[in-house]
């Protein structure tokens, strides 16, 4: 079985090579449709998002209708159908972060980045996401930048953090 947390190793790959890699992954799973979600995870890891074209590609390989793949992609919030920025900032709005001021963090980021949750800055540098509990409740309020957890953030920390990206 391919390693479940594998992500893109090289940014230089062409789209063709990426598709090839995804085809290999699908083969590795025996082209079984029960592995659709695992395959989507890896495809998103490689491309950064799941375009309709990519979904069609996967659907064909698994011999599924596109509608079924699309249905799964849109059901799960982890999957994105639009390109992400270079840095995805996820603000945790789990309960602990919420009561310790997570909403203020969102508001502040909206101001700083001038985008709303689910959006990406025009220069493709930042995407903003609201997350439902990342399990870092002891560190509330917490945010993640490309998956890395930053704890007990506040307005000042946010500014320096973003300036340093």
């Amino acid at each position: 079985m391919p390693n479940a947390t594998e992500t893109c190793a090289c940014a230089q790959e062409t789209d063709e090579q990426k598709y090839e890699r995804i085809a290999e992954i699908i083969e590795g799973y025996g082209a079984q449709k029960t592995n659709l979600i695992q395959i989507l995870h890896m495809a998103q890891g490689i491309f950064g998002y799941l375009s309709l074209e990519l979904q069609q590609f996967i659907a064909d390989k698994l011999r599924l209708p596109l509608s079924e793949v699309y249905g799964v992609v849109t059901f799960y919030s982890y999957f994105s159908t639009t390109p992400r920025g270079k840095y995805t900032i996820g603000v945790c709005l789990g309960t602990a972060c919420y009561v310790r001021g997570g909403k203020k963090i969102i508001d502040r980021l909206k101001e700083i980045l001038n985008i709303g949750p689910g959006e990406t800055t025009p220069d493709q540098k930042f995407s903003l996401e609201v997350m439902r509990c990342i399990g870092a409740c002891g560190l509330a309020p917490a945010i993640t930048v490309n998956g890395k957890v930053h704890k007990q953030v506040n307005a000042d920390k946010l500014k320096t953090l973003i300036a340093n990206l």
């Binding site: 309960t95 602990a96 704890k151």
Partner: protein, 595 residues
């Protein structure tokens, strides 16, 4: 090989985020530089639980407990403590005025805890199978394979009285027995590691800090019911837990503990990891199985229950991570021993993620029957910043509030239910006087509305209706009849929803209506939010006799709603004001009121 000293660095997600990795690397470098590699072992362990004080470094056998360690402290720790034997006083945990800096055993946070599930978390290197084995790891599996019959295992679990920790509290032995009794060529074991409750991270810590304990228990379950394949369904949001699990499975396979003919017993068992993809409802067992099958995670009606007809239509035992982490200990120490801990109906311990407005946030494990007061005030150190306790919330979006007057109730499944809450998976969120109960209820309902899969209408439509009513109440356009409407819709959802999500979604509202009804009425009748959380009900005004005209408020106001001459009282333009409260918090002369 025994070492003279062990330096344990917490490598849980919490401490990782504050450079625990650098601390670990620096300590290793310092130890090597001092030529101490043969005497001192530096280990990166799972979570110690005391996340508030992280990153944490423990030194054994001296029992020193260093908190808020920085990477540059590594050299002091090695040169002072390890070499000269003088603990670095400054880094030791400060237990307050009369106690001063203390050793691990005197840290109040740990004193009332009892660690069964977390026995290895913060003690062993989770990425080293030998350390797990050295602490009786896989001994329970061996016992089950060679000296116990499946019925013995079920008997032992029955004596232990272990109930599911995933929320519902169903007796584990019964679940296993149902599955064992069904005739089928193929059966499955699933570990539910979806941990969707916002405000809970017990399962994450167990998987990060002690993955083998879960793997071992799944194999014991497999042997008992006659299954040869297991799946761990884990949230994609937990990369460290996934990575430690992958490593653990690989190592166990290499040791012949997973695979064919395990330890020569003729028993085959394999485990695969399946990643969730961010849908809370997939924690519900039938939705989870749909998700493993590669579909949209929608629940289906039960019965048939998974024990009889589960994954791909085959009998499936599905257990929560924490439930499983208890199994090996029960097998080794016996069901009677386990059954002696806890209350009449709820045995053993429970892990809680203690968070919110509490001084010591962290992960704790206490015997069932411990009171909330002990948890919040003795272990948790009370409320942050000397504020007043308002409520403790258990059970996440499916649970309810517990107020001051019930703090002395011993915690168990039944008692919490009587109070209108549930045990849930172990999130325990403390709120204080600054929190608005209507707002908190709205937060939870917003969560369930967002996460509703939409399959059945009571949940899909009812949840939205209730949310809209709460929205109006918090915005100042509520009417008194809304209270009754909320209760009515809530009642209907409870009775008519297909799965636990919809059935329990009204709980936070119902519970706050029960204990904090006057707050709802205040919002509705007086258009007032006493804690100041509901912004639309707020009005900020500057008191002319207190304002000295320092201009600070005008400068911090993000929308330039404040005007005034220097050294003259200022004025807030109420039309422009967005009620962010920046002026209120920044004024040094208490010249701004919030009402």
């Amino acid at each position: 090989m025994a070492y003279k000293n062990y330096i344990l660095v917490c490598g849980g997600t919490g401490c990782e985020s504050s450079k625990a990795n650098d601390i670990f690397e620096n300590l290793k470098k310092e130890v090597t530089a001092a030529n101490l590699d043969a005497d001192v072992q530096v280990v990166k362990t799972g979570c110690f639980g005391f996340c508030e004080q992280g990153p944490i470094v423990k030194i054994l056998p001296d029992d020193a407990f260093y908190v808020q360690v920085k990477p540059e402290d590594a050299s002091r720790i090695v040169s002072e403590h390890i070499i000269k034997g003088r603990p670095v006083a400054e880094l030791l945990y400060d237990a307050g005025k009369d106690k001063g800096r203390v050793r691990l055993k005197d840290v109040p946070f740990y004193q009332k805890q009892y660690r069964i599930v977390l026995r290895n978390c913060g003690v062993i290197d989770p990425r080293n199978i030998d350390e797990y084995i050295a602490r009786d790891g896989y001994a329970a599996l061996e016992k089950v394979l060679f000296s116990m019959k499946p019925d013995d295992v079920i008997d032992e679990l029955k004596k232990a009285g272990l109930r599911g920790r995933g929320g519902a509290g169903f007796p584990t032995w019964q679940k296993w027995l149902f599955s064992q009794k069904v005739q089928s060529d193929v059966k499955y074991i699933i570990c539910n590691a979806d941990e969707g409750d916002p405000g809970a991270y017990m399962d994450r810590s167990v998987l990060e800090g002690d993955p083998h304990s879960v793997i071992e228990a799944m194999m014991i379950a497999g042997r008992t019911v006659g299954a040869a394949q297991g799946y761990i369904y884990i949230r994609a949001e937990y990369p460290l837990a996934i990575s430690n699990l992958e490593k653990a499975i690989d190592d166990a396979r290499e040791y012949g503990l997973i695979g064919k003919d395990i330890l020569g017993s003729g028993f085959d068992f394999d485990i695969e990891i399946r990643l969730g993809a961010g849908a809370f409802v997939c924690g519900e067992e039938t939705a989870l199985m749909a998700s493993i099958e590669g579909q949209r995670g929608m629940p289906r009606p039960r019965p048939p229950f998974p024990s009889v007809k589960g994954l791909w239509g085959k009998p499936t035992v599905i257990n929560n991570v924490e439930t499983l982490a208890n199994i090996a200990v029960i097998i080794l120490k016996g069901g009677e021993w386990y059954g002696s801990i806890g209350t009449a109906t709820s045995k053993g311990t429970k892990v809680f993620a203690l968070t919110g407005k509490i001084s010591n946030s962290g992960l704790i494990e206490v015997p069932m029957g411990t009171t909330l007061r002990e948890i919040i005030f003795d272990i948790g150190g009370g409320i942050r910043n000397g504020k007043k306790f308002k409520s403790a919330q258990t059970g996440g979006p499916s649970g309810g509030m517990i107020t001051e007057e019930y703090l002395d109730t011993p915690i168990d499944y039944e008692n919490l239910q009587v109070l209108g809450s549930i045990m849930g998976s172990g999130g325990l969120i403390v709120t204080d006087e600054d929190d608005c109960m209507v707002d908190v209820a709205k937060f939870y309902l917003g969560f369930t509305v967002d996460e509703s899969c939409g399959k059945c209408s009571p949940c899909r439509i009812g949840g939205r209706q209730m949310y809209d009513l709460l929205e109006k109440i918090t915005k100042g356009s509520g009417e008194e009849s809304y209270v009754e409407q909320l209760e009515r819709i809530g009642h209907a959802m409870k009775r008519a929803s297909l799965c636990g999500l919809g059935q329990s979604a009204p709980n936070p509202v119902v519970s706050t209506l029960k204990y904090f009804r006057e707050e709802y009425l205040e919002h509705i009748n007086e258009k007032k939010c006493r804690s100041g959380k509901c912004k639309d009900l707020l009005k900020f005004t500057i008191l002319p006799d207190k304002c000295i005209g320092c201009t600070l408020c005008a400068r911090v106001c993000p929308v330039n709603a404040i005007t005034g001459e220097k050294r003259q009282p200022h004025l807030i333009n109420q039309e422009l004001c967005i009620k962010c409260g920046e002026c209120y918090t920044s004024c040094k002369f208490s010249a701004i009121t919030r009402s």
